[in-house]
Symmetry: C2
Subunit: 346 residues, 2 copies
DNA sequence: CGACGATTATAGAGCGCTCTCCCCGTTGTG
DNA sequence: CACAACGGGGAGAGCGCTCTATAATCGTCG
């Protein structure tokens, strides 16, 4: 914006019509004589006009922007967000969320504003950002349970859609997976492969997804007559998967099947098994969860429970758009079904 | 924004002062009587006022937003961006870029708008976005050489800063690494460990970073009297690293040291070596490049050439800010030095 | 042939904010 | 004691756009 950018007024003068007419041509509203449309369009090209977003937003009261918020409990230290962002992106999960969201937004010429909300001040920034009208709504992905952000947004009456049911109850729309059913699929697969001495590296048990995947898995095992499943709790990270598997293996060396709460931990499980000379899947079968990119790069490639993250993310964006446009006022939930993807690890 | 949000006018009435005074208090401009400041501040709290971004932008002619653009040659098919975004985030590099950018922006209450520009229409969207004043400038990270975006932005006079020198010459600021020097460090390390039958899995040779890392490595080897280094070209991905190493090993089974163009490929190299029963680093020493998160999760942990991506990204953001505020008008380049990080693989 | 819808263009009033003038009162100075 | 200088506040003109009310134009029918 070095030299003055052309305005509607300039285009109107060039085309010999009024501002309003040019506006109508641009927004494709109401009847405008085709000849005049053509003249206006030519004037737009010749002036190199680009509508000013701020001016438009001011009157339409819409930013045409949404915030994509990664929320959770980080160090609660401000400034530590660098580490938080890095941790977030280490999980291929977020790339898939972004991919799904962008896939939905882009055909609408919209682009997400990326925000991290791991501390109280960061959460305040998010709320303020929305209250200022900088974005019309928020897509919230929480990394930890007890995230207060969804409730805060709901209290402010700001449009928001969460990935996964918020642990802190709030009248907010969300998109989620039938985690129990996913755990069940994992159990069935291991049973099918004849495994009975199974163990699990669960996700964090204070996170619903962690709990329910475990619950579903346990149910499946119990139904098949396996009453007890050793559990080592992990934190959905590679390192925590490694640590958990080490513990598990030390206490239960006879294990012949492992269900990991996500693929990242499953990768850790495989590494530990390899280090201890156990072959996967011959000695120990491993089932992961998510069907993320690591499921493919892991050796061996993981048999895993697929979570259609991209579609779920796109669904969040659609839901948010409906809330923003007022097509939908009541909070809504959309639950997706998991699917077993068989590869080599089980 | 369900019920009408309070405006400056409302706050002014509440505080019994003029709009201008409230504005001054909020923006901390000029001296305002401390008593009045206090009254105004109380009025802001009691009304729950939040300044409207669009209105402010309209007059200041600044969006207080920047675009973070991941640009490159994707399928050139629109709609294939889902795959592009996923591929982008599969590389831990981008997480680090985001982390660095956000680290700089957040203390300034700014947040990046995430955009992908892998097709012609997507690039047009980016240019239009900036021309509309939706963002004040762009941070561009190109995944492929010959990216036309930097030149387009420069031609439009839009503020932009690139990660790495644009392959298509353009008067644009950029931040880069002394790649040759990095390649040299890798060579020195392998020589130090007594390796002479070395080979390299290079990055794509049409990308300056790939070329120069290789060039520096070759120089280092030549200087030490090693005249020939077998090369297998990769594409900076895990899979390409695996394929390249397979080729290399088939033709040069006697290899005792490998320099990989980045950590992701180094991981592939390690996997192939393990599969072929070669121990790292005893039989074959491996040096990676980047010091990304995979350098730590790889087994064994990688000795690698560190690229300070976070600092580089923060530096891009700072440069862009200077361009936007007019503190700096000439394109500028900032080159960072690489650093050897010794772990277990070499 | 005048009147009356129907259609299409224009005029102009804001949207909420910043910022340049301008004014007023107090203090300092010759 | 008159006047300049200065600190601190208000009035009001836009920023560029959308959109409603209004005017102009045309065809058509009583």
């Amino acid at each position: 914006m070095n030299r003055q950018a052309p305005t509607l007024e300039d285009v109107a003068r060039e085309a010999g019509v009024s501002r309003a007419t040019v506006s109508r041509v641009i927004n494709g509203i109401r009847n405008v004589d085709p000849d005049i449309q053509e003249v206006v369009r030519r004037a737009i090209d010749s002036t190199g006009y680009a509508p000013n977003r701020a001016a438009r937003s001011l009157v339409t009261r819409r930013a045409e922007t949404i915030a994509l918020v990664v929320s959770g409990a980080g160090g609660e230290q401000d400034g530590a967000q660098g580490e938080f962002a890095a941790r977030v992106f280490a999980d291929p999960f977020f790339g898939r969320v972004v991919s799904g969201v962008v896939g939905f937004l882009r055909p609408r010429s919209m682009h997400p504003v990326l925000m991290f909300a791991e501390s109280e001040s960061a959460r305040t920034q998010v709320v303020d950002y929305l209250r200022q009208g900088s974005a019309d709504g928020a897509l919230v992905v929480s990394t930890h349970a007890e995230d207060p952000l969804p409730a805060r947004l709901a209290a402010e009456g700001l449009p928001a859609v969460c990935f996964a049911r918020p642990a802190v109850p709030a009248p907010v729309s969300f998109v989620d997976l039938a985690h129990r059913q996913g755990g069940l699929l994992a159990a069935e697969r291991l049973l099918e492969r004849g495994r009975r001495r199974v163990a699990t590296v669960s996700g964090p048990l204070d996170v619903p997804a962690g709990q329910e995947r475990l619950g579903g898995f346990r149910d499946g095992m119990e139904r098949a007559g396996v009453p007890y499943v050793p559990i080592a709790e992990g934190g959905f990270t590679l390192a925590s998967g490694v640590a958990a598997m080490e513990r598990l293996l030390a206490e239960h060396p006879e294990v012949d099947g492992v269900f990991a709460g996500n693929d990242l931990m499953a990768q850790g499980v495989c590494q530990v098994l390899a280090r201890h000379g156990r072959r996967v899947p011959q000695d120990v079968a491993v089932v992961g969860f998510d069907d993320s990119s690591v499921a493919l790069t892991c050796s061996p490639p993981l048999t895993t429970v697929r979570q259609p993250v991209e579609e779920m993310a796109a669904s969040m964006a659609r839901l948010l758009e409906e809330h923003i446009h007022g097509d939908r006022s009541e909070p809504t939930s959309v639950i997706f079904d998991p699917e077993l993807v068989v590869r080599e690890s089980a």
